[in-house]
């Protein structure tokens, strides 16, 4: 039986140790948030404010399918309190490897610190019936480029607000307030974008990859073809000729291209159709000017509206 003095010493030591582990009152460290893309990171910054420290893994000018699972990313994920992923298999080639090596139980799939941002958003192009890779690198869970609809951006923000609120309940009011501000800013911007795009409803265009269905649906534009014949498959000459024919038939002149594709093929097509290859930003960071989620649409809507205005036809 240990003496009372010894017990007291042990109890004091335990209490001191416990206090040492507690963050100082009123100065809680910000939550470390790792987002797989700059779009999610931007929304997380909008909602989290100074209560979060956000890092994005893939750059906005990088093909999000083609990201290397670099150990420097493992380091980021290992320190994260919250990991936000686009989901729908967009990161299938690299995120599982990062998670497995992260040594961070908090952010594993299904853990409280893991957020799949796609769960409450509107997903397009969910394949039905038999799918095989003869269709190219299809995403069985639908098109993962869903953040290109501001309504989905709002839903992503809601999911992040709720998740942050659960991870840091003391800051819930802060997140609610910041979400409302983001929501209002987005709503005001949407009025602006809708006004800019209204004259072009129903106009037809072509895109390189299937990155834009949510964006085009949102602004009432009609994609009649793709430079890629199938996702992830380079275009053979016959497909290019078909596409040129199709564009001429519909008087389509605009080819929307992501910044990570070579412009050679789109420009060759454009020269045959009197058109232009228009490089839009598929993500925050996709162009220098695009530093947050609202600017992403400001930039794309601005460029697209100007191009559609300049281009006659395509109606």
């Amino acid at each position: 039986m240990p003496s009372a003095g010894l017990r007291l010493v042990v109890a004091t030591a335990l209490a001191v140790a416990a206090m040492g582990r507690m963050p100082a009152a009123g100065r809680t460290a910000p939550l470390r948030v790792v987002a797989t893309t700059e779009d999610l990171a931007s929304i997380a910054r909008d909602v989290g404010g100074d209560r979060v420290a956000v890092v994005a893994l893939a750059k906005g000018y990088q093909d999000p399918h083609q990201v290397d699972p670099k150990p420097s990313f493992i380091l980021e994920v290992s320190r994260a309190d919250l990991l936000i992923a686009v989901g729908r298999d967009l990161e299938i080639g690299w995120l599982p490897a990062l998670l497995a090596s992260s040594r961070n139980g908090k952010v594993q799939v299904g853990a409280p610190g893991y957020l799949d941002a796609s769960l409450n958003v509107r997903i397009l192009e969910i394949p039905t019936g038999q799918i095989t890779r003869a269709m190219g690198d299809v995403h069985p869970q639908g098109n993962p480029h869903y953040w290109l609809d501001p309504a989905n951006g709002r839903r992503i923000a809601q999911a992040i607000r709720d998740k942050l609120g659960r991870l840091a309940p003391a800051d819930r009011a802060h997140f609610d307030e910041r979400y409302s501000a983001f929501d209002q800013r987005l709503a005001a911007a949407e009025v602006r974008w809708d006004r800019m795009m209204a004259p072009f409803k129903g106009r037809k265009l072509v895109t390189y990859h299937r990155s834009w269905p949510n964006f085009m649906e949102r602004f009432g534009l009609d994609v009649i073809g793709y430079v890629e014949p199938k996702p992830g498959i380079p275009a053979p000459p016959a497909h290019i000729l078909d596409l040129i024919g199709e564009m001429k038939r519909h008087a389509v002149t605009i080819i929307v291209v992501e910044p990570y594709w070579s412009l050679r093929t789109p420009q060759a097509i454009a020269s045959q159709t009197n058109g232009q290859a228009l490089v839009l930003a598929p993500s925050v960071g996709g162009a220098k000017e695009v530093t947050d989620y609202v600017q992403l649409f400001d930039y794309n809507v601005g460029l697209l509206a100007a191009a559609l205005k300049a281009a006659r036809g395509g109606v």
Binding site: D63, I74, A100, R122, R154
Partner: protein
Amino acid sequence: MRSVLVRLLPLSVGALVLCPTSVVAGQGESARSSPPAQNATDVQQVRDELARLKREFEVLRRQYDERLVALEERLAQIAGPVAGNASAGAAAGPAEGTTVPQDPPAQGRPPTPTPAGPKALNPDISVNGNVLGALAKDAPDLAPLQLSEVEAAFQAIIDPYAKADFFVAFGPEGADVEEAYITFTALPANLLLKAGKMRALFGKVNTLHTHALPSADRPLVTANLLGGDEGLSDAGLSLSHLIANPLVYLEVVGEVYRGESEVFQSDARSRLAYVGRARAYRDITESTNIDLGTSVAFGRAGVGVGEDGAFQSVHNRRLVGVDATFRYRPLRRAIYQRLNLRTELVWSRQELPTDPAAQAFGFYALGEYQFARRWYLGGRLDRSGRAQDPSAVDRAQSVFLTFWPTEFSQVRGQYRRLSFAEGVTSHQLLFQFKFSIGAHAAHVF
């Protein structure tokens, strides 16, 4: 039951819509019932009060909007396809009462719920095939054409604490569990524990599965010092620790194996094989990085197989390795261009009956350059002594060209010039078809 819910939910949705109106009406009365403004200060106060109330109302309205949306979603889920019309009607009804027409759910476009199918808990399954052909003189070991390996992979998360990886390889010699291990992903203190049969973390090439190699063959140093295709692969435990620091990715690994592999052959239960590795990685720029490692392995190794199939003698063996990798992949052109440079040096020291300190050295230097979306050109220089005959040194030079129709298949041609220590030189033309079906595997890095 379902129809009752369907009937009930629109009611509660309607009640919610009414709520903010009544709240505002009450607050509006209180604002009106304040005495008329006599001077500018009073007017300002009333304005401030109104602004505050407006803000509060706005917050309330948004909260109710969101709850409405959530309820609509739940309603749509509960009603399902059976009551599809009812749910559409319910979604359209309250939408008119809200004032945010931009919000898609209010326009009757609910987000798409995706149900998890009955097979959702099956592991990710993929199968890789590897067909190897050779045109060669002086190379009796090389078949003109063979299915050199079929590898089936099964991978899944086991529970909140661990994941499992199974790789079964079928080759000309039969089926073999190439790897099967559990990885504990939720350990404290930056630890990662693996248990099972696995490829030891000794250097780089030893950890790569055949289908992940950049060339049709493994380097000579693998065959001469590291146990060939199977390599240093055994049943054991692997514990790795990430040393947290702001400068570099620094990982140390300690592994213990039973001592039954192509490299080590234990002669007693207590004589295990051990592997240690330290790895440092750092991004130089966003497009370039450097990856350095050093590995050590020691255990017992058998020498000379007697008539009874047992080793004539078993001795201590130690391996030391150093590896360096430089990678360049411009992010804006990641689809079209990349360069990998790698070298690995291995020193083997063994107590042979003839030579108590037999030391052999081997290395390879590899370069691989992606010059177009689907095309990779590579070259490799090999030089390696033999573990049990250190004075015999083999050399090889290879160039290889790989065409990737998609991420899931490759066609490769390789020219290899092998100069054996005995003075024989063999010119070989290898060709290879690799293909993969099933779950999307992680990118090799």
